[in-house]
Symmetry: C2
Subunit: 211 residues, 2 copies
């Protein structure tokens, strides 16, 4: 059975940038923001912005634009960022440590409750306030903590075995920062974060400018 | 003047995943790979894969598919990954350190030649073989090293000032991992890497599954 297809992937990917700009506008005291202003900030076409925002169900008012508070709430609700997701981090290396300290996540309901690693030097310490436990205790703790999301930042060679363990512990979604295409049951969601994808964009833009 | 628009952004973003799968297929001894096989691996529609690959200028043969060596070369050439890009890293924290050790970059011509930081404890050391220099020497060294790309992993509060410095040193492209919308001259390329964008996808998929 094929995994469920999510439509409007590029639109969904743009929503966090919109949210960032709308929040800034609110902090500056604005009650309304127009699709055109958002488009200018992000160098997109206004029609694109309006189409993207329409998937959240909110419509702007002619001349005034979108009410900022309602628009933020609509985006956050659409993304499920108005509720808390308990997550565990597996692999407390540099990338994992960076992710636990990523300042944006606090706004998005991503609550990293525990980290796991096999390095005795890391176990028992905390990274950005998140306690690091032995990988051996992972299965039991994931169940106890009722974590639904696992952020996977282990070396590629261990990725599949750790994923298998996470799945058997009841994890619903894996945010995969390794370069391994994980094999998981259909009901488990995997979002692979491929940093080379952004680098591809950068390179194509450089080519286009002859840089 | 608006920045040049790059068409086919989602296609470009998918090319690195295709390359990864095609390389695996080559390593397994295959001479040809079909669009359908790539599509199955990535859970995409075959027509989408064929459309995406068409932007590189290569066409498959009926029944046989694409010749793997030529296809890899075409993608790499399209992305400019068949030449070396000298890059500097600014901000040798956890994320910066993780990026210097990111295993995929070696395949893509991304050559990180120097890192800069203001922490005296880091200056003079190396991270994954990359020497860390004082931020004060950045402008001069970027010029001397003829680096074209800067990877920006400094705290947000310093992002704009560092970007200004990089631009005045002649950097052509900034790969921005901060959450700051940088103001740079039109001729400078900025690719912002927003990790919350992948998290948005994960959350929407979870919502769709009622997870």
């Amino acid at each position: 059975m094929a995994k469920q297809k999510i439509s409007a992937v590029p639109s969904i990917r743009r929503l966090p940038s919109y949210l960032h700009i709308i929040r800034q506008s609110k902090d500056e005291g604005n009650e309304y923001i127009s699709g055109t202003v958002i488009a200018q900030e992000l160098r997109l076409e206004p029609i694109q912005v309006r189409k993207d925002l329409a998937i959240t169900g909110i419509v702007g008012k002619p001349k005034k634009g979108y009410p900022v508070v309602a628009l933020m709430a609509a985006i956050e609700h659409f993304l499920g960022w108005d509720r808390v997701h308990e997550a565990v981090l597996v692999g407390a290396g540099n990338l994992g440590t960076a992710l636990t300290g990523y300042p944006e996540f606090q706004y998005h309901g991503l609550n990293i409750v525990a980290a796991f690693d096999q390095d005795p030097a890391k176990i028992g310490k905390t990274i950005h306030g998140v306690p690091v436990f032995s990988l051996e205790t992972m299965k039991e703790q994931v169940r106890n903590l009722k974590a639904t999301i696992a952020i996977l930042t282990v070396p590629s060679a261990h990725a599949q075995a750790v994923a298998d363990s996470l799945v058997s512990a009841g994890i619903k979604a894996i945010w995969n920062f390794t370069n391994v295409k994980l094999k998981v049951p259909d009901e488990v969601i995997v979002q692979r974060e491929d940093l080379t994808s952004g680098f591809a964009m950068l390179c194509v833009m450089m080519n286009a400018k002859g840089a």
